[in-house]
């Protein structure tokens, strides 16, 4: 739990440091994009520290490309 609190604190401090200058310079879109990415990053980090099962792109890659890989490596070069 401690690490989750630390992560949220870190994200909050980061937002406090980064967002107000952007807002003051009228860079509203930049501020929004930054906040969305920060929210996503914090969410993913918390999920990872709690050992949640996250979507795994490498498994998708394996799933999509295994048939063609089998054809090339087992049939053509086997």
């Amino acid at each position: 739990m401690l690490i989750v609190v630390c992560l949220i604190l870190f994200a909050a401090i980061l937002a406090l440091v980064e967002v107000p200058p952007l807002w003051r310079r009228k860079l509203k879109k930049e501020a929004w994009v930054f906040s969305i990415f920060l929210l996503g990053g914090t969410f993913l980090s918390i999920a990872q520290t709690m050992h949640a099962v996250l979507p795994n792109p490498l498994l998708w890659i394996n799933y999509v490309y295994t048939p063609i890989s089998n054809i090339v490596f087992n049939q053509l070069l086997g």
């Binding site: 994009v33 990415f37 920060l38 990053g41 993913l44 980090s45 890659i61 394996n62």
Partner: protein, 366 residues
């Protein structure tokens, strides 16, 4: 983006060299030897021969719209909204994910070979702090630092190559083509994919190079120098360790560096040599990270990509940890499926892009 980055041709060549060597230097001898055994060096030559036309393809795309980066080209081809959506998807799938895999290579190397009791998370976080610091400064400082660090990396590799020469056993290379040509092709496939197909991402920095007339030469020079270093390494690994030990080690280059022993005085230098691949891996992760961050900024038309670096780094660390359950899974993916993934983005996508650009400009002429 109004604050355009400009890098010189020399810096671009160095960036290409660093990126080609990258983390490839750690694992490529093992990947090649797994498939091609003692003919791994032939696979390497074949890989270079196949990669040269790829560079032509990337340069042909660049010549059509020399001021536009890869994500801006998607917008030209697909229209505003579809282009933006596709760019975001591409950035999250390709440079971002490759950065995560590269980081994982570094983490795996450190935890298995050098610091087995340190949690991999800490290594990733500390490495990314340095990358984020570099990113906050921007691309120009990154290329300047690569210019500054490349002599160190090259000297380390030179010392390694020279001091391992006494242990060469020529019989390790024979018999040549014992199992026919098929394993040679099988070995070339992962080497073409990693690092050469990933060169498509240089389309992100090609518009920033100062002397556009010589940009092709700079790219070719970088790739060939990087390849030559990797080729020497593969050849020496096979010559010294033999094909079977090379294939069974995950990081044969490190094993090779451990073997250095001149008159029992000059030995145990492997960690000093390893500085070379920390430098190249660092530049490679910085480059992928820059592609992802700058690409997102260009797609969403943000003024600055730099403040995205900390949130992106958090995501990168999570993906590098969560998507690779263990090292053998990653090795198997590198060998079997990642080449085809890279082929999709490194060959099919640029080909489609080039054809669509040609059709577009043809339509405009009529």
């Amino acid at each position: 983006m109004d604050n355009r980055v400009v890098i010189s041709n020399r810096q671009f060549t160095i960036l290409v060299i660093m990126n080609v060597i990258g983390t490839t230097i750690l694992i490529i001898p093992s990947l090649l030897a797994k498939e091609a055994n003692q003919d791994a060096w032939l696979s390497a030559i074949l890989a270079l021969a196949v990669s040269m036309p790829l560079l032509w393809l990337y340069l042909a795309i660049h010549k059509r719209q020399p001021t536009k980066t890869l994500v801006q080209l998607f917008e030209v081809v697909l229209g505003k909204w579809a282009g933006k959506l596709f760019s975001l998807l591409f950035l999250m799938i390709y440079p971002f994910f490759l950065g995560a895999l590269t980081l994982r290579n570094v983490g795996d190397f450190l935890t298995t070979q050098i610091m087995p009791e340190t949690p991999i998370e800490m290594i990733h976080i500390i490495f990314m702090i340095v990358v984020v610091y570099a990113m906050k400064l921007g691309l120009e400082p990154i290329v300047r630092v690569s210019e500054l660090l490349i002599p160190i990396a090259l000297v380390m590799l030179f010392i390694m190559f020279v001091s391992i020469i006494p242990q060469i056993k020529a019989e390790n290379l024979f018999p040549i083509l014992d199992n026919g040509y098929k394993p040679v092709i099988g070995g070339a496939i992962p080497f073409i994919s990693f690092p050469f197909l990933e060169n498509v991402l240089f389309l992100m920095v090609l518009p920033s190079v100062r002397d556009q007339s010589k940009v092709g030469k700079a790219l070719f020079k970088g790739v060939i120098i990087g390849w030559a270093i990797l080729f020497l390494l593969i050849l020496l690994t096979i010559l010294v360790l033999g094909p079977y030990i090379t294939a069974s080690k995950v990081f044969p280059s490190y094993t090779l560096a451990k073997k250095i022993n001149i008159a029992e005085i000059f030995e145990r230098v492997e960690i000093t040599i390893a500085i070379a691949w920390f430098i190249t891996s660092f530049i490679r992760i910085c480059f992928y990270f820059y592609c992802a961050a700058a690409g997102i900024a260009q797609t969403l038309e943000l003024k600055d990509y730099r403040n995205l670096s900390i949130p992106l780094a958090m995501m990168l660390i999570v993906f590098s940890l969560s998507s690779v359950p263990n090292i053998s899974f990653l090795m198997n993916t590198d060998l079997r499926t990642l080449p085809f993934f890279n082929l999709t983005f490194g060959l099919l996508l640029p080909l489609a892009l080039l054809i669509m650009l040609a059709v577009k400009s043809g339509m405009r002429k009529q």
